[in-house]
């Protein structure tokens, strides 16, 4: 199987799983389709030589984050069905129209070479050293300070979640 075949198959998988996720009414099926889309994206990362990011995508996104989603779906009850009626009139048609506008803008930018003009694609695999070593070297030298700042973000998130999720003292259920 050549790289082109792999690209087209995984790109089609990612897009189809994403569209099916938006159209599916069952929340659990939505989560599973999102996992499929994310694994296809990880293969697209692999095709571009970003091995470390591909592994992170599967471990963090398709693993940890989606497990969290499934957990909350199970906690809140899987039988919550979405109503098909529209409370806001013509909300869906306006939304689809805005989506067509957005995709046509993006396609116009790509076709007009405004984004990609004058940029030559380099070799995806960094010669000599592996991708993980290169990313680690950049991450711990040039980007060391932002890397440390993310630890503050994670601490704030953990404390905030505890405050949000705990019930008041003496409050019933």
């Amino acid at each position: 199987m050549t790289a082109e075949t792999a690209f087209f198959v995984t790109a089609a998988l990612a897009v189809v799983a994403g569209v099916a996720m938006v159209l599916n009414r069952n929340a659990v099926h939505c989560a599973l389709l999102l996992v499929g889309s994310q694994i296809a994206l990880a293969i697209l990362f692999l095709l571009q030589g970003a091995f470390f990011i591909a592994a992170l995508q599967i471990i963090v996104y398709a693993g940890a984050i989606m497990i969290l989603f499934i957990f909350v779906i199970m906690l809140l009850g899987v039988d919550q069905k979405e109503l098909l009626i529209e409370p806001l009139k013509s909300q869906r048609s306006i939304a689809v129209g805005l989506g067509v506008l957005l995709i046509s803008e993006a396609m116009y930018l790509l076709v007009s070479d405004f984004v990609t003009d004058g940029i030559v694609a380099s070799d995806p695999v960094v010669a000599g050293q592996g991708n993980v070593e290169e990313v680690a070297r950049v991450l711990f030298t040039k980007w060391a300070f932002p890397f440390e700042v993310t630890s503050i973000l994670l601490v704030v998130a953990v404390v905030g979640v505890m405050v949000l999720a705990k019930r008041g003292i003496g409050e019933q259920t």
Binding site: V15, I53, L68, I103, V126, L154
Partner: protein, 101 residues
């Protein structure tokens, strides 16, 4: 025939638009949140593609930070959804209308 970088960007644009339309048309808060994740994933694909086009690995480090922020965002968002569900017993976004005029 080789894989052009712009093909990856087209895939990324399609996935981002799918996520944006999903946020607008869905009313289940959890599924809206999943659509936001889809948009973040599409942006990650753009980051990796531009990183390959420009070199220097800055894009892949950006994807790393996007992952960290997404993890924090998911945890806080799900806690907020849990708090909403405790008060309203519903996952419908239209039920959360306290600030509507």
């Amino acid at each position: 025939m080789s894989i052009e970088p712009s093909w990856y960007l087209i895939v990324s644009a399609i996935m981002f638009t799918t996520g944006a339309v999903g946020v607008l048309i869905r009313r289940n808060i959890l599924v809206m949140f999943m659509c936001i994740e889809l948009m973040l994933n599409a942006v990650n694909l753009s980051f990796v593609t531009f990183d390959r086009m420009l070199g220097g690995l800055g894009g892949q480090v950006s994807v790393f930070f996007v992952l960290v922020v997404a993890a924090a965002e998911v945890v806080v968002g799900l806690a907020i959804i849990l708090a909403i569900f405790r008060r309203r017993s519903s996952l419908d976004a239209d039920q959360v209308n306290l600030l509507r005029w």
